[in-house]
Symmetry: C2
């Protein structure tokens, strides 16, 4: 049905009406006194959301652009980096490192399984001459719905003492606790179309003092992604290039909404919806792709047996106007993914599960009709 | 007055209501069948606007990001490039080249004067062993309102036979004729907040066959700005990263509007408004910063004598809610700039000139009240 699409994918995510309307305002000049207070407010709001006093830099770029900036500003050709890779995005950060001539050691896990922090510990402890310059970790792996144990991995990085920790928080920031200052995360990158309740178009990078020290001697070439330029301008409530001013209007509104809801409530909402979604899948005999102890708060991946993932997605989309995501790369056709990230209410979870049940009925899948909705409802109301 | 701002700066430029409303639509999935037809339509529309069959690639980036992509995808460390520099943006492209370790020869002209094509000819003719790999030219120099003679410079590049021509068309595309295929322009970059009647947030790069040949062996590192990735995906009506889907909705509407108006009419409108603005300044005894034969169709810079540029801008903004641009870098306080680019009607020119006259009256400047409006009106109506 036209204009009736409901997004249950891990980005773009749904956007509130008041944010959309802010997006539709006439642009203003980015070098004018009109823009500076907006820049000041959104920067402060982002620091609140990121739980940090570090520099918070806003790029016109996707999450990949933000993450590339988070890597290339702090390293030099030949530098050794440890990259956690257990999905499409971990793989991508390793690729970026290779493109820039870094020496990459991958720590891998099967897609759908979390990275083992002990493997990081072993490599970091063995590095007695401190050759590892950075450890790159994807917090919530969007391609599999796995949440990696960032807190533990980061503890081993801190024990190493030298390496920076560079975090892909693209689908974790705004969904689950990422206490940048408390944990001492050096570089944290994310994107607007995820937990921020915004359309795609902005990338965010939080940069701490130790990373800026590395920046001073880092030699990889960059200009548009040169975070030093952003840092210099944000100190004047300005921006080095022409920022997408309409997205800044929208960001301003979205951050005010998030501040009103409060960090604890936002995290609790994502946790509740994750639990409800997972409980529903179990009640429907649909195997979860990620284990309970490593479940992303943003996205649940399901690996159905005896029923086709793509057929489920197709029916849910065509009959009920709900977009769910498919598998990527070698998981195409093997899993489907339900996003519950950003502007998602408990009602949306019930809606998605009930539509999923309808599709399963249509496909003659063996399950107890109503069991998924009941299981989700129970998690949402208790 | 709140919500009454009128943009007469060289970007962001005014955006039509129907484009703003498209921006406020709910996002869709960029990997869905909903997105592919939009990608197909805007790519075709952009090819029409660029007068080319070359690949047309859309980046989530500012014009600088697009231009950096246009440079770094086709060159290798140490490559010799000629960079035309007669303003802030020409300087910036030279800086980017230096950051990436290219060997840069600058061809300069005083800010406010056009580049001399004969200097390009001399260097290109002297390069008998074909060491010059690219010539980088800013078509319309936004910082000064100068239009460089791209057609002639390009003719000398073609005579050289080897070098690519890489064009910053950020404030010329959509304002004046840039016939990419007819002239054989290898790489042309621009940005959404200029002639496209859109807010900032998208960059565009048109890439021809000769540039793709260079891409095959070019060694500068890139990932987010790797145009090969965009080329591969656009062939499938897709995008390598998460594109700003709302900006694509807006682009779709803006391109339809431009196609309805027609290229000839769009160019004629910009030319007429440029002539009217310049005639008004002459009638007001306000010295034009760029000579008539090198006047940008997008922006007119004025270097007032006996009256302060910043005071003019301040009064026009505070009393009449019109944003005009100031000078950049060493021109700060010395010039002001009137943008007439994109969604600007003849009425806007009359409005801007009449407000400017009011400011001049307020500042006791010596001029004939009404002379500017009369001169502009004459150019607009004959």
């Amino acid at each position: 049905m036209d204009d009736k699409l409901m997004l249950m994918i891990p980005g773009p995510t749904p956007v509130p009406e008041q944010v959309l309307l802010a997006l539709a305002k006439h642009p203003i000049g980015h070098r004018s006194s009109d823009f500076a207070p907006i820049m000041a407010e959104v920067t402060q709001g982002l620091k609140w959301l990121h739980q940090t006093q570090n520099d918070l830099l806003i790029l016109a770029a996707s999450g990949t652009g933000a993450m590339e900036a988070g890597i290339i500003n702090f390293l030099s050709p030949g530098d050794r980096v440890l990259v956690g890779s257990n999905g499409k995005f971990g793989d991508r950060w390793a690729q970026i490192c290779e493109v820039y001539g870094l020496t990459v050691d991958r720590i891998t896990a099967e897609w759908g399984k979390p990275l083992d922090p002990e493997q990081f510990r072993a490599q970091l402890e063995a590095d007695t001459d401190k050759q590892i310059k950075a450890v790159i970790v994807t917090h919530s792996e969007t391609s599999t719905g796995v949440l990696n144990d960032l807190e533990t991995i980061n503890r081993y990085v801190k024990a190493h003492g030298q390496a920076l920790i560079i975090v892909d928080a693209v689908t974790s920031l705004g969904a689950i606790n990422v206490p940048i200052d408390e944990w001492g995360l050096d570089v944290v990158a994310s994107g607007s179309q995820k937990g921020y309740m915004l359309p795609p178009g902005l990338g965010f990078v939080a940069v701490g003092a130790k990373a800026w020290d590395a920046y001073a001697t880092a030699k990889l070439p960059r200009f548009y992604l040169d975070l030093g330029k952003y840092r210099k301008e944000v100190a004047k409530n300005s921006h080095p290039f022409t920022p997408p001013v309409n997205m800044f209007f929208a960001l301003q509104v979205a951050l005010r909404m998030m501040q009103k809801e409060g960090l604890e409530n936002i995290f609790a909402r994502h946790q509740r919806q994750t639990s409800a979604t997972r409980a529903a899948m179990k009640a429907l005999n649909l195997p979860l792709f990620a284990p309970d102890h490593a479940a992303s708060p943003a996205i649940t991946a399901i690996a159905p047996v005896g029923v086709d993932a793509e057929q489920i997605r197709s029916i849910v989309k065509k009959r009920f106007d709900i977009a769910m995501a498919g598998g990527q790369d070698h998981l195409k056709g093997k899993i489907f993914r339900v996003g519950h990230l950003g502007f998602v209410s408990d009602r949306d979870i019930l809606t998605a599960i009930s539509a999923l049940e309808a599709a399963l009925l249509d496909l003659n899948y063996d399950f107890t009709p109503g069991a998924g909705v009941a299981a989700a409802a129970k998690m949402l109301t208790t």
